[in-house]
Symmetry: C2
């Protein structure tokens, strides 16, 4: 109680250039981190009080990690930045003419605005599927998926009817991109390793895990040879990829899939959604208020410097931005978001000095996707790696990025522990309906 009041942003900055960043994901947080010593007054606004390390969220959904282990409080990450203020609030609109962001309960003025509110699930016009097939974007999504997976085994253990038991032991993952592959692989490990000795009336290894993908191979963003290696690794874990297949209906009893002109109904009680994403609704607000052009997924078509056309004071970065480079739209992945965050930070500093900035260009360091223990694929230009070396690389890269926050040590220990024991420590069914 003897401490002095922590001074706010330097007083000299009170009249300084005001930068507001909306969204503390990879794009927004990396911009904020880069601006920590810049001569401006920075405000980072987020609905949540923490940054989520999304690439590991599937491990929370499958009981390998706890939410606290992949989340870093934004205030902790930015606490050393004296020019920075973190604001827990929801941005609902923009007053472009007066340069203000409108909060659910107030407003904030800005001189430069950076919007990085990302993307959410998209059910291709079937919003009624959402409660039946949760997607994986938030901590609550992850604990809900974890609850459903673990409860399915509990229900199967108690179910005397073979057909119903079979439905409880059937898991359908819609979408064969990196998230779908990670979820399917983790489910395969849960069925074959983690739960092996846990039940008395069922054999978890008899689970049926189906991975439904519209293209003719999983991981379509990778080279075909890696897709095929990933498929073989999935099959070794007991996952059955259903390729060139399309989900046409989801209800409480199961999923209807269309493939090669044939329609099949799969009886299942657990459907996970890893297929479509749609840009955050703030993209539409930007279109209305600032005339920002949007692409079909609702992303803002930004200028080469990531600004909104006609509004050099507004930048959009991360999954909410649509950037075409060498004829292809950049994917919504963490490395793109981080590089865009750093780019905009540098641009804002140069702008203050009256200097110009080269257009944004994404430097692709390579792609990694993990499938399970010792199983992954990696693509670095023409160099393709799979199996243990790719998996080891994946672990190394993810730990290195976690280093930048505070959870590295703990995740590392949990991984080593899980690796040795083949256990998953965080298998909690919480927030039951009852």
């Amino acid at each position: 109680m003897k401490n002095q009041v922590e001074p706010g942003p330097d007083r000299a900055l009170a009249s300084a250039h005001r930068v507001v960043i909306v969204g503390g994901g990879f794009a927004g947080l990396y911009a904020a981190k880069r601006l920590g010593k810049a001569p401006l007054a920075l405000t980072l606004i987020d609905r949540r009080n923490f940054h989520l390390f999304q690439p590991l969220l599937y491990q929370v959904a499958t009981g390998g990690l706890s939410p606290g282990e992949i989340a870093s409080p934004l205030r902790v990450v930015l606490r050393g930045h004296r020019n920075t203020e973190v604001l827990l609030a929801e941005v609902v609109d923009f007053d472009i003419a007066n340069r203000r962001v409108i909060l659910a309960d107030g407003e904030r003025p800005y001189d430069d605005l950076v919007i990085s509110t990302g993307a959410t699930h998209f059910y291709f016009g079937h919003d009624e599927w959402e409660p039946l097939a949760p997607g994986l974007k938030t901590v609550e999504d992850a604990t809900e998926i974890r609850r459903r997976i673990l409860l399915a085994y509990e229900e199967a253990e108690r179910e005397p009817d073979p057909a119903r038991r079979h439905a409880w032991l059937t898991f359908v993952i819609v979408g064969g991109g990196p998230t779908g592959v990670e979820l399917a692989g983790a489910l395969g490990e849960i069925a074959n390793d983690t739960l092996r000795h846990d039940f008395r009336h069922i054999n978890p290894a008899e689970s049926r895990i189906l991975l439904i993908e519209g293209e003719d191979r999983v991981l379509p963003s990778f080279a075909p040879d890696l897709s095929h290696k990933a498929e073989r690794q999935l099959i070794a874990l007991g996952v059955r990829p259903r390729l060139s297949a399309r989900v046409t209906a989801i209800d409480a009893g199961g999923v209807t899939v269309e493939a090669a002109g044939r329609t099949e109904h799969i009886a299942t009680r657990t459907v996970l959604w890893a297929a479509g994403v749609r840009a955050s609704s703030l993209g539409r607000k930007l279109a209305e208020r600032a005339g920002a052009p949007l692409d079909r997924a609702g992303r803002v078509l930004v200028q080469p410097d990531l600004s909104v056309p006609g509004h050099p004071e507004i930048h959009v970065i991360g999954d909410l931005a649509s950037v075409t480079q060498d004829g292809k739209v950049l994917p919504g992945v963490a490395p793109v978001a981080m590089q865009q965050g750093r780019y905009v930070a540098d641009l804002l500093v140069r702008k203050l000095r009256g200097q110009a900035m080269r257009p944004f260009r994404y430097f692709d360091k390579g792609s990694l996707a993990t499938i399970g223990r010792n199983r992954a694929v990696a693509q670095f230009g023409r160099l393709h790696v799979s199996g243990f070396p790719a998996w080891f690389l994946w672990v190394f890269v993810h730990l290195m990025y976690l280093v930048e926050f505070e959870n590295r040590l703990l995740v590392f220990v949990e991984w080593v522990y899980n690796y040795i024991t083949r256990n998953r420590g965080a298998r909690l069914i919480t927030n039951n309906q009852d």
Copy 2:
């Protein structure tokens, strides 16, 4: 997918003596663990799929640990016991005549029944206080308390009105027993250490943390000299104990406290309840169905062998049992529950062999209560310890008990990390209303 179906409880046991344990807390789980090799068919029934290490739950509520780090899946703990089945289900009633427990969705026969469903919060007839002043019993309670504490600071940071800001920065803990003291101490550390550099408009060290206790000292179950030492350690952390004080009203604006004939209204937005507990409602069912006598708190007054009078086939253990020893009712703490669990396990085995069992007797190894970093009190008969040695003992004892489950390594790492950095890694605001 090549594994054989895991055999259920040994076939030879199908016609064996059926023991059902209801509740996987310390009492029920220690009984189950002890019976793992006994020649009987054991079923452990719990509503949750995990055992919760309750003595560390306050660390989840205050952001020091993640729920997964203090919870062990019951199936994992008991997976090696071939005679044991875990059932995720809710017991709602008993059919004593036909020796069946009635589940929310089924029933289970038993030859011997052990009930250990513990206790829940009790608001002294003011159930309307529950949403205003959450208690700390479940994982959801802990994450809700964590949410309220962290949100209070966020709201204070944004609140321009000094009086309202003061109310957000005021925390009232009702009840000065071990849980109240732990929560108050942790709040003191959060205010003075953890959040020290996190805000720009408030100084967390100006938080007001009030600990309200009806007796004239905190930790009334300890010797007076240790109570006074605990008070001094709390005050050093910025906690203000209000002794001989009684809460007469709680509403959204604050708490009304009566002390020495004077009534005071404390404006606060965060009230935590650590005062009363009431036995699980299954105690009343036992009274109705089996004529079990109850004490004022709803606990079952058991025989010297922990059985229900007139029903040698039903035993009640843990916080649901009321056992008087040397003129005092045994406290509802983990060591009592564990010893009762082991006792009943031994009794059941001896009974199968036609052997008698001595009455239960609790062996008091001593009491520990922690207040914060390097701060605790410990009482071993006439030996009283406080400060760092007591704290070190507390850490040692709790890690030793965790060893019996699976989380020791991780909690240890997290503690070392938090100790060195004075950080709390699990500061997540989750499950917001919005």
